[in-house]
Amino acid sequence: MSVSLSARNIVKRYGGVIALSDGNLDVHSGEVVALIGANGSGKSTMSKVINGVVVLDGGQLLLDDKPVRFSSPQAARKMGIATVFQELSLVPKMTVADNIWLTREPLKPDGMIDRRVMREKTEALLELFSGTFKADLRPETLVSDLHPDEKQIVEILKAISLNPRILILDEATASLDSRQVERLFELVRRWKAEGKAIVFVSHRMEEIFRIADRYSVLRNGKTVGQGDIKDITEKDLIQLMTEKEKVFQFTKTTIAENATGLEQPVYLEVENLTTEILRGVSLKVKQGELLGIGGLQGQGQRDLLLALFGDIPYQGIVRIRGEVVRFKHPRQAMQKKLALVPGDRAKEGLLYIRSILENFLLPSWQKYGFPLKMKLAKRDALAISERLSLVMAGLMAPVSSLSGGNAQKVVIGKWLLRDPDCYLLDDPTKGVDVHTKAEFYALLTELSQQGKSILFYSSDDDELIGLCDRVIVLHDGKIRAELKGASLTKENLIAASMGVSNGGEA
């Protein structure tokens, strides 16, 4: 069953944002192709184009040299393309067997589901990973009772149960332990020998070199290099992923020295911070420092910021100006003059149907007494909206009437109103227009000159390099590298993101 899939000059736009401008990928029977790229390079869009989750805007998909168009994931599945999704696609309140065979349940002659056959087939599938998971993973176990690694295994089995000709593994190893990864790679080699074609999307450089036969590198929506993995080194791959041209002129913020010429005091000190995702993170932030946090998405950056803000429980010690704190609710963090701009502004940062005024004032109402001094509140909100040059119909207009960039200004503005000492920023420029980005950069510089400490996570590596003095790179819940001065280069940043050990001074 020989198969080949080619994607040629793929274009995909989301609204005004171009995710892919020239994506190319070739994969044939009996080989593993690694799809590689930094944050926002378009690799997840590329895999979504191949498996029919998104419809492409331009370019061509060739399956066995014949042009095809997938209108849905189901259509792609019918052509023998199956995907193991990174965001799990399982139904929690259904059993393992029900999930794997959903919509394809084996039937008895009378049209009822044949539970016995379904069970046997599921057991046969589970056999593939036998010995790498605990005994409680059975066909009749509820998916909601499973650990993340076991869910990932079920996800893989669901894809392989379709007996696909082309299998896409989208970050499928992220939650697996080393034994499970080992087993998956054995299986991949077997499927390869059976003539399947495999696309492997991963952020672990070491795994790419272990399993892939060929590579395809995306950068900024364009495929910039393809070839045999044995002809390339880690260093060259990272070079390929690294953007050359700069879009912005950044002004670096260096910590202002105080009058006596001494160094600024340490504002925040974190020791061995551990959460479900973080595995012992220690760091120090000085007063007035803009500390960058880098790394690929989902490596614990969000947990770090939420733990510091008291939203999720953690182990470890956090000190603010030398005093040990342990926040159990964001309110306590706010009292210590911390502020958080969360990563998902629609779901975590805004009250969409409420007015701009109320969004600005939500953290601050207590200051306005009872009955609330509305005139004063309006004046304060207006002052902030002018400082941020917010484009709006009026303070009473709902936030839902604002553009993405202006809505993000409201999220930041509500904290400016409280004048915090420390800002925790979770990718604040994501989905924000270029003009607003430039305004944000100026604001960050201004805040750090005022002596505010800022922890700044960004999925845009250029921002980190352009704005920060010092960047820590998270990988798998740990600080993989701390880059500053001469070592703060895009190459080192990407290398550390991919878990390459020689990137920076780890």
């Binding site: 803000f309 940062g349 009250l351 149907i353 004032l361 939500l362 109402w365 009872f370």
Partner: protein, 322 residues
């Protein structure tokens, strides 16, 4: 074409006025006698007070979102009405005590609702429905000893009579206006109110902005219980008698009044002015149909249909489907 948008409370009040004017043409309507018309209008508003107060708690829990609803309001009304009745026993100086008992018992029941919803994660619908059953059981236990009591004269005077012989405005309406102003202070001019709207829209945003979602949620159900308790106190002051089915007929209209008043049933948006308007509309329609000697079945159908029509109009106007 510019779309005309009218805020729901205004729409509800306009509807009430139009219906009332049309009712003048009915065979036994007020005709062209302005004095009779005013008297009729006043009486309808006076009747709406009781529904309006009971619907106040309902407004708060519905604004708090996440399927917030209080199905125990009807039975709390009955319970506190009975408690008031047996406490007062016709004595004026026991009235204040009875009021405090009504508020406290209502708040306690609401607080238990809040505990179940917040900590045991029981859906508000199920929790308050279950509570309604428990409270009804309590009422039967109390009633077995045959309720003996009496409403105090001062209650009748304060609730059922006009302000003074010269000013024919019933005291109940004055109480309602003051009550409405306090509700407005609570919702629009207090930190609690602002936090209430916030948790109704988005609890993650609320928490990350420092709102204590747990405490706010407990407080809103306790407050809703206390307001239902206050409703029971007022109702018995008006009727002067108690019976087991006293409060339950208020339950469905209390939810309908909130909806007709334009409060978003999914939470996060609404006003008590709207609920007041809604209570007037529902009371007006009921009394018109009664005047027209429509059977109960027709009254129910018309009320249900009114609710559906109003809500579908609001849904279109605000365009929530984004």
């Amino acid at each position: 074409m510019r779309r005309i948008s009218i805020s729901p409370p205004v729409a509800a009040i306009l509807l009430a006025i139009v219906l009332f004017l049309l009712s003048g043409f009915l065979p036994n309507g007020f005709g062209n006698d302005i004095n009779v018309a005013i008297a009729q209008a006043t009486n309808i508003v006076r009747l709406a007070v009781f529904l309006g107060v009971i619907a106040a708690g309902q407004t708060l829990v519905i604004i708090s979102g996440f399927e917030g609803i209080d199905l125990s309001a009807g039975s709390v009304v009955t319970l506190t009405a009975i408690l008031t009745y047996v406490t007062v026993k016709g004595e004026d100086d026991k009235v204040l005590l009875a009021l405090l008992i009504s508020l406290a018992v209502g708040a306690l029941i609401g607080f238990i609702n809040g505990l179940g919803i917040t900590f045991l994660k029981i859906s508000p619908f199920v929790m308050t429905l279950g509570m309604s059953g428990v409270v009804t059981g309590l009422i039967i236990i109390i009633n077995h000893g045959n309720v003996s009591g009496k409403v105090a004269p001062i209650m009748t005077r304060l609730i059922a009579r006009p302000l003074s012989p010269d000013i024919p405005i019933p005291n109940a309406i004055i109480i309602w206006i003051i009550f409405g102003f306090m509700m407005w202070l609570l919702l629009e001019r207090s930190t609690f109110g602002k936090h209430l709207f916030a948790i109704g829209v988005n609890r993650v945003t609320a928490k990350l902005s420092g709102v204590n979602v747990t405490v706010t949620n407990l407080a809103v159900y306790s407050l809703a219980g206390a307001l239902a308790g206050f409703g029971g106190f007022l109702v018995v002051g008006n009727t002067g008698v108690v019976f087991i089915a006293l409060g339950q007929p208020f339950l469905f209209p209390s939810i309908a009044a909130v909806a007709v008043g334009g409060t978003l049933l999914s939470g996060g948006k609404g006003s008590y002015w709207g609920t007041m308007a809604g209570a007037i509309v529902l009371t007006l329609i009921t009394s018109l149909l009664t005047t027209m000697q429509m059977p109960d079945s027709v009254r129910r159908m018309v009320l249900g249909a009114t609710l559906l029509v109003m809500i579908s109009i609001y849904g279109r106007q605000r365009g929530f489907r984004q």
